[in-house]
């Protein structure tokens, strides 16, 4: 059952990849005899059907894994992040049904792919549930919260397309730079996946001994070549050695390893970005812009707003209300200012501010789109940084 589950996830991944390519193809301005609109429509439909097939396959992964483990597979970083990616695809399927915009698929699908690929770099073993997690609220709270975040992510996707579409690319401005930074960061995630996957395929490992902040001698094992070693650490093997040591305050048991991986991601992202720029010979967003010119900006603005309008109540229900009910049952209090709770509140407050800006102060178009970008950054921060860096009661998830 567990093997079947992995296979289904793998198949879903491949289908999503093909769907992305199909959506991208539907936007290309091929100079054929064919009617452009009919061409776009036909390939858009193929892409959409593929997305639904991929989603069905991932749903298969989800339920087979559930059967294998006996609990809803949303209990660790791999499972939750994979599920979040699946909810992004689901939200895309929903929103596409309303607006039929192929460009949404060109961006939403690869971002969901990146999320799932990123998730797969974490331990994938089926782990048992600790007592705190043994509750029906695990599936109710986590799935609703992930669905809300998935829908909110689509508002980022639509906002990003809007910005690429409207930001003036003839001159270099703060806005064009910000867009390039977003592209670069997406490539960094890709870089992380690439480095981790290649290292894992090569079976690379190197270990260090060092003294951590609790004054304990610990051994830390890197799965990618060590650019940055632990402070005052000694390498246990003769693999490629660290070029520098991480700063001395970074002395948590796993901190140097995470920092090293982080550096690798930034570097690979940089290399990838450089290669793409060399090929395109212009900004990435400037290269994409011409493909988007027949999209109406106010349609994109609308999609972005609607995603928040739909996603905000779902997120509130899942990430705050259900969370509070469960917290009351498991931890005796519905609210305890745990970092994950606080960042869910921050996400809530941010989108509340967005809605006030938009509905009361008339922030439409560009301002609104930039806010959606920031909102996505906050969601990602809560997903990644709070778990890997801050860590509190939710550190298992």
């Amino acid at each position: 059952m567990a093997e079947l589950s992995s296979t289904l996830l793998y198949i879903a991944f491949i289908i999503y990849l093909i769907a992305t390519l199909v959506f991208a193809m539907s936007l290309s301005d091929k100079k054929g005899k064919e009617n452009k609109a009919a061409y776009t429509k036909r390939w858009g439909r193929v892409g959409y059907i593929l997305s639904i097939l991929g989603f069905a396959s991932q749903l298969g992964y989800f339920f087979t894994r559930w059967m294998a483990s006996g609990h809803a597979p949303v209990s660790n970083l791999f499972e939750f992040t994979t599920f979040f990616g699946m909810m992004m695809v689901f939200a895309f399927i929903l929103i596409y049904a309303i607006y039929r915009t192929n460009a949404l698929g060109v961006f939403a699908m690869p971002i969901a792919l990146l999320v799932i690929a990123y998730a797969s770099m974490f331990p994938r073993d089926i782990a048992p549930l600790i007592p705190a997690l043994q509750s029906d609220w695990l599936k109710i709270h986590v799935t609703t919260a992930a669905l809300g975040e998935g829908i909110l992510s689509i508002s980022f996707v639509a906002g990003l397309i809007f910005l690429i579409r409207v930001v003036d690319q003839t001159v270099s401005t703060k806005k064009t730079k910000m867009l390039e930074i977003i592209m670069y960061l997406l490539l960094c995630v890709f870089g992380f996946v690439l480095v981790s996957a290649i290292s894992a395929a090569a079976g690379y490992e190197t270990s260090f001994n060092f003294t951590d902040k609790k004054d304990q001698k610990v051994e830390v094992t890197y799965n990618v070549p060590a650019l940055v070693g632990p402070p005052n650490g000694s390498q246990a093997d003769d693999h490629f050695g660290p070029l520098v040591s991480s700063p001395s305050w970074m002395n948590g048991e796993q901190a140097p390893r995470k920092f090293n991986t982080f550096i690798w991601s930034l570097l690979t992202g940089g290399v990838l970005y450089g290669i793409v720029r060399l090929i395109l010979r212009k900004r990435i967003s400037a290269a994409i812009q011409p493909k988007l010119l027949n999209l109406k900006p106010d349609l994109l603005d609308e999609i972005s707003y609607r995603s928040v309008a739909i996603g905000f109540p779902v997120f509130t229900l899942g990430a705050l209300i259900f969370a509070m009910i469960w917290a009351q049952e498991a931890w005796t209090r519905f609210w305890g200012w745990d970092p994950k709770e606080v960042w869910a509140l921050i996400t809530f407050l941010f989108y509340a501010a967005y809605l006030h800006f938009r509905l009361s102060r008339g922030w439409h178009g560009e301002k609104s789109a930039w806010l959606c970008v920031i909102g996505f950054v906050i969601i990602m921060f809560n997903l990644i940084a709070v778990n890997l860096v801050i860590s509190g009661l939710h550190s298992y998830a």
């Binding site: 043994q134 349609l299 609308e302 509130t316 229900l317 209300i321 005796t332 970092p339 800006f357 509905l359």
Partner: protein
Amino acid sequence: MRRLYRIWKYQAVTGCAKLKTIKCECGHSNPFGTEICESCGKPLTNEKSHELINMRYEGSAVRSQTYNKTIVDKVWNFFSSVKVGIWIIIVILVAAAIGTIFPQEMYIPPNVDPTTYYKEEYGTPGQIFFLLGFHDLYGSWWFLLLLAALGVSLIIVSIDRGFPLYRALKYQRVTRHESFMKRQRLFAMSDSGISMDRVKTVLAKKRYKIKEDNGNILAEKNRFSRWGPYVNHVGLIIFLIGAMLRFFPGMYTDQTIWIREGETTAVPGTKTEDGQYYLKNHKFVMELYDKKDKQFSQALDKTGNPVPKNYQSNVTLYHAEPSQVVGAQTELKKERDAKIKVNEPLSFNDYSVYQVDFKLNEFHRMNLKLENKKTGKTYGEIKVNLFNPKSSYDLGNGYKVDMVEYFPNFKLDENDQPTTENSIPDNPAFVFKMFTPETPKGETAFIGIRKNVEAGDNKYKMSFSGIETKNVSALTVKKDRTLPIIIIGGIIFMLGVVQGLYWNHRRIWIQQRNGQLWIAAHTNKNWFGLKREMQNISEESGLVMPIDQSDEKSA
């Protein structure tokens, strides 16, 4: 608050004649501050302008936009501003984020001193974090003040905008003034000649409610969605009030008790005139996942550490009537047996008892034997109850052991004097005086775990012969009478959010003027959706598609 309400009511509800009123050319007297005539819809400010009119709150008199003289006005205006509201939200957001940089005081280890912990653990940034009071950010006066400001803003903004909006929407007229029509964002004129019946059918099919007046039409739908923001704000206010009530006596208790196996304890905070609840802890159970468990074996092998499966206290709940006689033995009446697990608290009346912590194998009884050092012969065993030791243990035949001193949790103080850290027997140590027929004056010895110090050259010694342990459960007793209020607030909030975001208020005015058909449309949000719907209506009914006048301007 009352006064504010009176002032508001005075000029907004009654449109009182005592104050200056604005008379429209149609003859209607509008309250001071009105921007669009309540009766005919003629814009009362910037009459000559051709710009789109501001439809917010339907142009009715809003207190905060009208008065700005007294301090009350100024405070009112400050909190009723959406801009200020957004700023309060953003400041709370940033403050909340800062609080997560380092752990809050409640999440640092319980036995460390925060004054030094933050510096040692996180260096200078940690020290600054502590010195600024950010280790207890969410309980600080200024953070609570921010939350209070948010609450005040929610209340004032709801009163300031909610009532005028209600009034304006309730009494709207079908026929509107010429410039009201022309200055709507979606507007068109066309030579009439289409069937109004067909238009009405199409509008009705789209679930519009239609009002008619002299052949003019007002089609409206989903007005209730306009109350969404006010409903969700009321929900939030109730939620915040609920959270505040916690600080009133009797609303909230939160206490943790440690109960050893076999022990019965009064449940703290449950004492009333009707008596008190008691809990007996029969057994604390900890289960671990089995490494041989096939489905989890890979993950369990990797972590190496055992993974807990269950923490559970098997208890019995008792209730005792208040004793009539002072000092009389309380009589416990059994209520029920229960298994308290993580995620499965025991609930009775207003109370819930949670499994929160445990301690395995706490020393409970220690057995020692009196032994002749030379021969190794023993002369009986003493069993020391570590929670209630006897001062003397008689072994018969002239053999006796006195306990001179007892340190349940032994340590040496600054002056190297033996002392005890607390009364929990984690590291018990004793000073015994041993009497035998051979040594009638007694021999003194200090006995601890892996310690044996003698006053002189003793002939006898006390040797460990056994230890009995017990598990201890930590149970948290909670009563929270604010929960129902908080739940109601949460439900109202959710309903309001959905009501406001999943529906949109749309209105279409169709008027016959000078042989022409005028059409204008308005929505409070989601213009794109309205335009799509108008496109649809115009295709089905032959009505001319109104033009977005804000597009024309920007183009």
